[in-house]
């Protein structure tokens, strides 16, 4: 594993004496900023020090110290490693100013921190719950909040062995179900305010009068959560003037599966199969990011052969993701099925390799700390070679021939859903979305991890910033992935696939780590805090699908409602990761 030597050389404490101090807890890094000066310091971080992209915002609850902490990760789009800064607040009244005026990309993430941890962000334009519904009781990620099926603080649970009489979880809950109600709650008298009201009032209202004095009012359209082309259970509320989108709000949480709460009960290893279920198209990349983060905490090396296998798997994943994306995108545009069916054929062949190597088509659970679970057999390697050399290049070209020049496609995509480079950076876009806006930022190159520094490939980027550019970037990225695969398959060394022994209980020092990979959808980051126990103390996923939606309103306003589906499709979201 290559960690770039450049641990940030910025001395923030010297620049802001008395306001900023270095985080001196063992295992931690970064800077702690006085909560009331956050905006000022953050602006300097962006403008003076050049950390222009705010990657991740999340909170950590420290009840033992009576503190709540917000952790920010930023980086430069010109490359280099991550820059961490934090603010701390008293736990009983966690208030901090919102960073939305500095980075618009903080918007959805701050809402998430409010929803799950109850941190209030002043001056936030729209601070509502985001994953849970308005009216839900409590902030689930606080350490003292217990879920209805709460059994024990940490896994493994004692009731399973040696006296593990099977009981279903419902039997232990007074309501015989996965629910709990506050003291004195009366369901008959419960007058629920329409939880949607706050949502609808947050949309921009609109009224106009034309020259004949005919008044036009706004129209509100709900798309989803059951909608054939929202890629799952995503919902958007759209305000329309005729067919033009005036205002739009994404509504999410319909697949919020409490990944982080469960992740903080699990042991480090047990989280691995759960990460498969984040972006369920690309379980290999998810494993990759998580393994990197934990390996950083453990301070171990990865076996060299395993590193190559990891790269091979991650790139195969990227190819099938982008192929499926192209197919689904065309579905969204109305070209039902033909491109999607072509894409699924190649995907099946790639999944065959995963199945033969990892054991499962989709939920690979293949990475282990220090390596991978089992070796790639000669047979699987041969199959991969055949695909990479003889089949996939032709199929990518075929997709290209089928679609790229198609006049209907071009006219639907060109110039639509425009996002400028500044906006893209300011709204924390990553991955193909960012690159299609003319910012050639790719973590594989900018902050290389694993063995990516040994391969030659181009970072694909297009200056146009429209949907067509997003399409072209992805097509070209598949070619670059094939190029990486060719080199990796040539160079792959023999040797062990795991450094150290297989173990299910890993030793981890107290501290924090942030591991990130260039997943097919963007920067996938894992922020992990350990307190030396076998379970992570805080486990946060920076999900590219989620954060890339920050700009959705920006992309859609002014376009026609019929194009909304296409614009959403071009962002490339997957709900498992979006809602976690």
């Amino acid at each position: 594993m290559t960690t770039p030597a450049s641990v940030s050389t910025v001395d923030l404490a010297a620049r802001f004496p008395g306001i900023v101090s270095a985080d001196s807890r063992p295992g931690y890094s970064g800077w702690i900023i006085n909560a009331d000066k956050l905006i000022e310091v953050a602006t300097a971080i962006r403008d003076e020090f050049g950390y222009d992209l705010l990657s991740s915002v999340t909170g950590v609850d420290y009840p033992a110290d009576g503190k709540m902490e917000v952790v920010y990760h930023a980086f430069k789009t010109t490359g280099g490693s991550i820059f961490v800064f934090k603010v701390q607040m008293p736990r009983d009244d966690p208030v901090v100013s919102s960073l939305v005026p500095v980075w618009k990309g903080a918007e959805l993430q701050e809402r998430e921190a409010w929803d799950l941890l109850g941190i209030k962000f002043t001056n936030h334009p729209d601070l509502r719950r985001i994953l849970m519904w308005e009216g839900f009781e409590g902030h689930p990620l606080r350490k003292d909040w217990k879920e209805p099926f709460y059994e024990e603080e940490l896994k493994p649970f004692k009731s399973r062995w040696p006296d593990g009489k099977h009981t279903i979880a419902e039997a232990k809950n007074p309501f015989r179900d996965n629910v709990q109600f506050p003291v004195g709650f009366d369901p008959e008298k419960y007058t629920f305010e329409d939880p949607e009201q706050a949502l609808y009032t947050s949309l921009r209202k609109y009224q106009s009068e034309d020259k004949d004095g005919i008044k036009t009012d706004h129209i509100l359209v709900n798309m989803g959560p059951q909608h054939p082309s929202t890629h799952g259970v995503f919902r958007a509320v759209v305000m329309l003037d005729g067919e033009d989108i005036v205002s739009l709000k994404p509504v999410m949480g319909y697949l919020h599966r409490n990944h982080e709460k469960i992740g903080e009960r699990n042991t480090f290893l047990q989280n691995m199969p759960y990460t498969d279920r984040l972006d369920y198209f690309n379980s290999m990349s998810n494993n990759f990011g998580y393994a990197l983060a934990v390996e950083k905490l453990m301070g171990i090396q990865v076996a060299e052969r395993a590193d190559y296998i990891r790269v091979i798997m991650a790139e195969l994943t990227r190819i099938q993701n982008h192929l499926i994306w192209a197919g689904m995108m065309l579905n969204d545009l109305g070209a039902m099925y033909t491109p999607a069916l072509y894409a699924f054929e190649e995907r099946e062949l790639i999944l065959d390799i995963f199945e033969a190597t990892a054991g499962s088509r989709m939920m690979c659970n293949y990475f282990r700390f220090g390596g991978v679970a089992r070796d790639m057999t000669e047979d699987a390697l041969r199959k991969t070679r055949e695909l990479v050399h003889d089949r996939l290049p032709g199929k990518v070209d075929e997709m290209d021939r089928l679609l790229t020049d198609n006049e209907v496609l071009v006219s639907r995509l060109k110039g639509m859903g425009y996002l400028s480079a500044e906006d893209a950076i300011n709204t924390s876009m990553t991955g193909p979305m960012l690159r299609a806006s003319g910012v050639p930022y790719d973590i594989r190159r900018a902050d290389p991890y694993s063995v990516y520094d040994r391969f030659e490939f181009d970072v694909v980027s297009r200056p146009e910033g429209d949907m067509y550019a997003r399409y072209l970037v992805r097509i070209e990225e598949m070619r670059q992935s094939l190029k990486i695969l060719e080199q990796a398959l040539k160079q792959i060394p023999a040797g062990p696939i795991l450094s150290g022994k297989p173990q299910y209980q890993v030793k981890i020092q107290p501290g924090e780590a942030y591991g990130r990979v260039e997943a097919p959808k963007g920067e996938l980051g894992y922020y992990i805090v350990s307190n030396g126990k076998p379970n992570p103390y805080r486990y946060h996923v920076r999900a590219p699908s989620f954060i890339n939606l920050t700009s959705l309103e920006m992309l859609c306003v002014g376009e026609k409602i019929a194009d909304f589906v296409a614009i959403l499709g071009a962002v490339d979201i997957v709900l498992g990761e979006l809602d976690r």
Partner: protein, 208 residues
Amino acid sequence: MYGKGLLKGLGVTFVRFFNTYWEDLTWMWRRVTTGEKRYHSAEGIAHRSSKNTRGIFTVQYPEEKLPVPEEFRYIPFLVYDEGADGAKEIRCTSCGICSKVCPPQCIWIVRGTDPSTGRPKPQPAEFYIDADICMNCGFCAEYCPFDAIKMDHDYELASYTRTLLPMEKLMKPASYYAEIRPLNAAREDEARKAKEAAKAAKAEAAAA
């Protein structure tokens, strides 16, 4: 020229369309010459899953089934060795590692007790896997030190009720295991034999 892109795309679909028939024709010829069939045969399925596949891609379940690779995993099962008189010698020692490592905690084990002494004995009295919680991750099989729990290949489990698997349903013979995972089984058997031999040698050395 407007429409050139459309035509190019149509060309691609036409080639695909044509290939479907061409492929079937070539296989017809192959059937005459070599006797190989494209459908309902192992070589046909292998061909349809290879890099050369074109034309019809479908594997017609349930008439033909895609062979699953050795590493394929579904729900776990417990391995038992067949004793001399058909007795089922379960390998599990009820050490509890699988239930500890299981991410959704869906393994339930009651450790057995020796009726004569009342002390724990290395055998499970009850063993449950809640198949409706199991996430097919394979950790239990990976970390069991006694090769006692393994991942099954059987995926045809649909039922009209929920599925809770008690020990009787989980037990499958070692021969079945060797059948679905021949390479793994051989490797593990060898390792176990080597270990036993080493132990015996040590015991002998100690006795001598």
